[in-house]
């Protein structure tokens, strides 16, 4: 029996064995059939032995059956094997523009620092773009940015700073003013490092007792979240008509960590934004009293940050929209 069991490797063979041993005319039944001929005293003994044999055979059969089923399943699964080195089927997903990715990240950082997002028109009055920002007509600073005009009073904004005044006008005298204003800006310039259209993010915080120390802390926090936890910033005195004191802000080069490389021109620092304390004249334009409140403002170029983030070396790539470029992001 054991040999037969071991030899059977198909379920049908097991069934044959079962019938042979346990069937109605099987060997066990045949054995029990002779029981009547035995003395009464031996009958229970034979009965017990037959039942035990029956149970043992059933168990052996079940065990073997289980093994065969298992083997059959194994074989089936083996036959179903797939070549997982074949390429996967890519989901049809597009790509966000790198400027969108970077802008959204900048927005998220400042949202988490308690800023809200404000917007202003891209076609602006000369007043908001210049005069309200302490850049009167004929001011030498107007030299710094050549503008696209529609009429003598209307132009494409040359920076996102007009949003400062527009927002303050709507908010004064309430405090705090705590906004970033991302958007498109325009300058009459077109070469490898200048684009007539580009993007800025303006920041403005006005409240009681705001100091340059708050500006430094805020920008350091931004730099660490955007460039990494070890980023350092450096402020250099500079000039903007709408801030005083003013600063150019550098961040330690993320490529070399500050030791100097090709990206940072060997200086270890990368210029990323301009900032300063809001000029009293601008606070007044916005409807706030510079004796009561103070504020800081900053403006950064989204293209510049995206170029640093991804190592992009040509500004024009952002606006050519070559699919081979776009597909590298997100």
């Amino acid at each position: 029996m054991r040999d037969a069991l071991a030899r059977s490797d198909r379920l049908e063979q097991l069934e044959e064995l079962r019938v042979r041993y346990l069937g109605r005319k099987g060997l066990i039944q045949q054995a029990l059939a002779v029981m009547g001929k035995l003395p009464a005293a031996e009958r229970p003994q034979l009965g017990r032995a037959a039942n035990e044999a029956k149970a043992a055979i059933e168990a052996a059969l079940a065990e073997r059956r289980q093994a065969l089923l298992e083997r059959e399943r194994q074989q089936r699964l083996e036959a179903e094997a797939l070549d997982l080195t074949l390429p996967g089927r890519p989901p049809l997903l597009g790509h966000r523009h790198p400027l969108s990715i970077v802008l959204e990240e900048i927005e998220d950082i400042f949202l988490s620092l308690g800023f809200e997002i404000a917007h202003g028109p891209e076609v602006e009055w000369d007043y908001y773009n210049f005069e309200a920002l302490n850049i009167p007509r004929d001011h030498p600073a107007r030299d710094m940015q050549d503008s696209f005009y529609l009429t003598p009073d209307m132009l494409l904004r040359t920076h996102t700073s007009p949003v400062q005044v527009r927002y303050m006008e709507g908010k004064a005298p309430e405090l705090p003013v705590r906004i970033i204003a991302p958007g498109r800006v325009f300058r009459r310039d077109d070469d490898a490092t200048h684009s007539p259209v580009f993007h800025q993010v303006e920041g403005l915080l006005v409240d009681r007792g705001v100091a340059m120390a708050d500006l430094k802390g805020t920008l350091l926090e931004f730099a660490r979240r955007f460039f990494g936890p070890t980023a350092q910033i450096r402020l250099r005195p500079s000039f903007f008509p709408f801030t005083e004191p003013s600063a150019e802000v550098d961040v330690s080069c993320a490529v070399c960590g500050g030791s100097g490389c090709r990206t940072c021109g060997g200086s270890g620092w990368l210029e990323i934004l301009g900032a300063g304390m809001v000029h009293p004249q601008v606070l007044r334009s916005g409807g706030y009293d510079p004796e009561e409140v103070s504020g800081f403002a900053f403006g950064m170029g989204v293209e510049r940050l995206a170029m640093l983030r991804y190592g992009i070396d040509d500004l024009r790539l952002f606006f050519q929209n070559d699919l081979r470029f776009l597909a590298q992001f997100d």
Partner: protein, 805 residues
């Protein structure tokens, strides 16, 4: 602004090497663009005297020059036309190195051996006004006057200051006012070191007995344009070349030497920041000066040879009759100092900045002088500069300085004062500096704290208020020492607005649908309407025009994103990026009367080709109108807004494949296949499909709030219906009939097959719909459903003439 280090060191002690100096100046706000060492790579050049100049026997434009090198004679061939016997030139012997690493060797020019070469300014790596090869040739050799140091064989390196460091400053407008001079930069250095200035003395000259006021008178008629005017007169002037050291300094500072008189005016301007001008006194009518506004119709021939038409606002320097100089900008040619000049009237004046800026801008004439005046100069710097320049002219041109000066003063400016509130300066910076520290920092920049406030030095025309004082303190104290802290005030009501969130949703949705985002300029070509075959009265033609566009393709502001998108598609097609699914969320600009334009944001979609990348499992995803429609419909669901598509022609779309897109408030866009004519003229991929939606209009409507629908508790019954209809009957019509007759039990209606061709008759198609019926409160019986479904079938036949299959 270019500052030769040796010149700066004449005025102030510099305890640092040039690199550290540059770093420290940058830290106080004087950005150093570069440190140049002109001629540093030049070696082995010496002075030689030219003894003989002969034309080259075989070449028209070459000369054979014999020179005395101090160690003998040599023969060199030169193409410069200014070699003359007796002059001293710079000789590069074989083995010498010139600018750009050029190594000199003996070389034959058409049969004549040249033993080295004679050098031009440019070849020595020194600054020169010559920009082109032609200019350089015209400039010729650098020639020197003989002298004790200029003798054959002398090393030319020290003589010419080869390799001397020059700081190139990129000054911001505020510092340009007081730092556009050696003096100004020296003041900054002195503030940093804490040591004083030591201005080099001008030559001492014995004034003549004759008084200047016997010769000239000065009158200011335009008092708002000129604060003061000082004239000095020099007699017996001998105009000639300046000494070499003076020429070198001018060149290192970026100016061209002209003659000893003009060079002195430039030299003193570079030193002190105060522009000066020298007139040929004898060419001034009546020898006198009138500062006035130009009269209509007046003209002036300026030194650059241009005849300038003056306008009544322009400030001019006139003599008794006519303008002789454009005040603060450029002198006139007729009164220019020349070889014949014997008497010089030296002008030093204080002009109002904005007028200078306005005139120089209008004329497109920027000069060293105008660039200084327009920033606002030190009113107290006029007299010292005048005296200094007069002394130098007297010394260098052998002239007699007439006694005294002739001056007119329109107004004296009182020193500016700023309230002294130390706590406010600390408050603005976030510092905690003591009053003494603040006084000291300000004092080093020349600001004096007095009883009635802080007195601003006269040369700080850029400082007006406490914020400016705070900056002075901060830059000298060090921006890096200001503490850093996070703002303590309350946050704004943070978070994105609904609109801002929805724009992000739109972007995410499209990316999730396989579309890639593009970013294009806001401009449109002036003739975009024509290029899109728009009728004359199409609203998109009402575009705002730029007054000063950079080119015709960017002459207007876009009213649609379609033009920009087609450009992007073409750009990609030319680079064989054939499968495209692109979108842009962008601003358009719609004129609104006299006011600012409206700036609705629009969504633009475009797709072409097979979007599914080639894959071993097959599968195609054709870019067609149904793709765009599906993407937009799903977007509408996501945003909780209605969107409907109605067949409607658009001038730029395929007439049979165009729809208008409607939202609750009306039409918000279009969808369709681009017109084949446009595909051809724009060189676009075939079957390009596009859609554009005005997001501002569409999303202005309130979003429908998502309400949960209980999941069905009873089974559904499915029935199909297939029927043949003429092609002229839109599917939407059949759907409407089905919905009308299927009643409330119809839960879902799905078109699962559209078929044209045998055995369906020509001009017809077969549509097959699956209908799922379900009741909310019980299990429907087959009989009930059959009855309803039969009604649907009959209605299709009766109302549309459909042939049921």
């Amino acid at each position: 602004m270019r500052v030769p280090l040796s010149w700066l060191q004449e005025w102030v002690d510099v305890p640092w090497d040039v690199d550290e100096l540059a770093e420290r100046l940058t830290a106080v706000g004087l950005a150093i663009e570069a440190i140049e060492r002109p001629g540093a790579e030049v070696s082995g050049v010496i002075v030689a005297r030219i003894d003989e100049v002969k034309p080259h026997p075989a070449a028209d434009r070459l000369w054979v020059v014999t020179i005395d090198t101090g160690r003998g004679t040599a023969t060199v061939v030169t193409g410069a036309g200014n070699a003359r016997p007796g002059a001293f030139a710079i000789y590069a012997a074989p083995g010498a190195r010139l600018a750009g690493g050029l190594e000199i060797r003996e070389r034959s020019f058409r049969g004549v051996l040249s033993q080295g070469m004679l050098c031009s300014t440019w070849e020595l790596g020194l600054p020169t006004a010559a920009k082109t090869e032609e200019d350089r040739l015209a400039e010729g050799l650098l020639l020197l006057e003989g002298g004790s140091s200029v003798r054959p064989g002398a090393d030319a390196g020290p003589l010419l200051g080869l390799g001397e460091p020059v700081l190139v400053l990129d000054l911001t407008p505020n510092y340009a006012a007081h730092c556009q001079s050696i003096l100004g930069v020296a003041r900054e250095v002195a503030a940093l070191t804490g040591a004083g200035l030591h201005p080099p003395a001008a030559p001492v000259v014995e004034p003549a007995e004759t008084a200047a006021d016997a010769f000239t008178r000065v009158e200011i008629r335009a008092e708002d344009g000129c604060g003061c005017y000082i004239a000095r007169v020099l007699d017996g002037v001998s105009v000639g070349r300046s000494p070499l050291w003076l020429q070198r300094r001018l060149q290192l500072a970026g100016m061209r030497p002209i003659n000893n008189v003009v060079d002195v005016t430039n030299y003193v301007m570079l030193e002190t920041g105060q522009p000066l001008h020298a007139f040929d006194y004898d060419r001034l009518q009546e020898g006198r000066i009138v500062v006035r506004r130009a009269r209509a119709g007046e003209r002036l021939l300026t030194l650059d040879g241009e005849e300038r038409r003056l306008e009544p606002g322009d400030l001019v320097i006139a003599d008794a009759e006519r303008p002789v100089a454009l005040a603060g900008i450029m002198g006139g040619a007729e009164t220019e100092v020349s070889q014949q000049t014997r008497r010089v009237l030296l002008e030093a004046a204080h002009f109002e900045p904005l007028g200078i800026l306005r005139t120089s801008r209008r004329m497109g004439l920027r000069t060293e002088a105008s660039g200084r005046f327009e920033k606002g100069l030190d009113p107290e710097g006029v007299e010292p500069a005048s005296a200094r320049a007069a002394a130098w002219i007297a010394a260098l041109a052998g002239a007699k300085l007439l006694a005294g000066r002739v001056a007119a003063v329109a107004r004296n400016e009182a020193p500016r004062r700023i309230p002294w509130r130390p706590q406010r300066i600390n408050g603005l910076l976030g510092t905690d500096l003591s009053e003494t520290e603040l006084r000291d920092l300000l004092g080093r920049y020349g600001f004096i704290v007095e009883n009635d406030g802080v007195r601003v030095p006269s040369y700080r025309t850029d400082v007006f208020g406490e914020a400016d004082l705070a900056e002075e303190v901060a830059r000298l104290y060090g921006y890096d020492r200001i503490p850093s802290r996070l703002p303590s005030g309350a946050p704004a009501t943070a978070g994105r607005s609904r609109w801002q969130v929805e724009l992000l949703t739109v972007r995410r949705h499209l990316v999730g649908c396989g579309f890639s985002e593009v970013t294009t300029f806001s401009f449109a070509p002036a003739d975009l309407g024509d290029r899109l075959h728009l009728p004359d009265d199409h609203p998109w033609r009402q575009a705002l025009r730029l007054a000063n566009p950079m080119n015709e393709d960017q002459a207007a502001l876009r009213t649609t994103l379609l033009g920009s998108m087609l450009e992007v598609v073409r750009y990609n097609r030319r680079r064989r990026n054939d499968a495209l699914a692109l979108f842009e969320i962008g601003t358009t600009y719609l004129p609104d009367g006299e006011g600012l334009p409206r700036e609705p944001k629009r969504l633009m979609l475009a797709a072409a080709g097979d979007l599914r990348p080639r894959h071993w499992q097959g599968h195609a995803e054709p870019a067609d109108v149904y793709l765009l429609k599906g993407v937009l419909e799903r977007l509408a669901q996501r945003l909780g807004r209605e969107l409907a598509f109605r067949p409607e022609p658009q001038p730029f779309l395929h007439p049979g494949r165009a729809a208008a897109v409607y939202a609750a408030g009306g039409a918000v866009g279009y969808l369709g296949e681009l017109h084949p004519d446009l595909i051809e003229t724009w060189e676009l991929p075939p079957r390009l499909v596009v859609a554009e939606v005005d997001l501002s209009a569409w999303l202005a409507a309130e979003a429908q709030v998502t309400r949960f629908q209980p999941l069905p508790r009873f089974p559904a019954v499915e029935r199909d219906v297939a029927f043949v209809l003429p092609l002229t009957v839109p599917a939407a019509r059949a759907e409407a009939v089905i919905r009308e007759h299927a009643g409330p039990w119809l839960e879902q209606l799905t078109l699962f097959d559209v078929y044209q061709g045998e055995p369906v008759p020509a001009g017809c198609r077969s549509l097959a719909y699956a209908l799922r019926y379900r009741a909310a409160d019980r299990t429907l019986t087959d009989a009930e459903v059959d009855e309803v479904h039969e009604r649907v079938r009959q209605a299709l036949a009766a109302e549309l003439g459909a042939t049921l299959r």
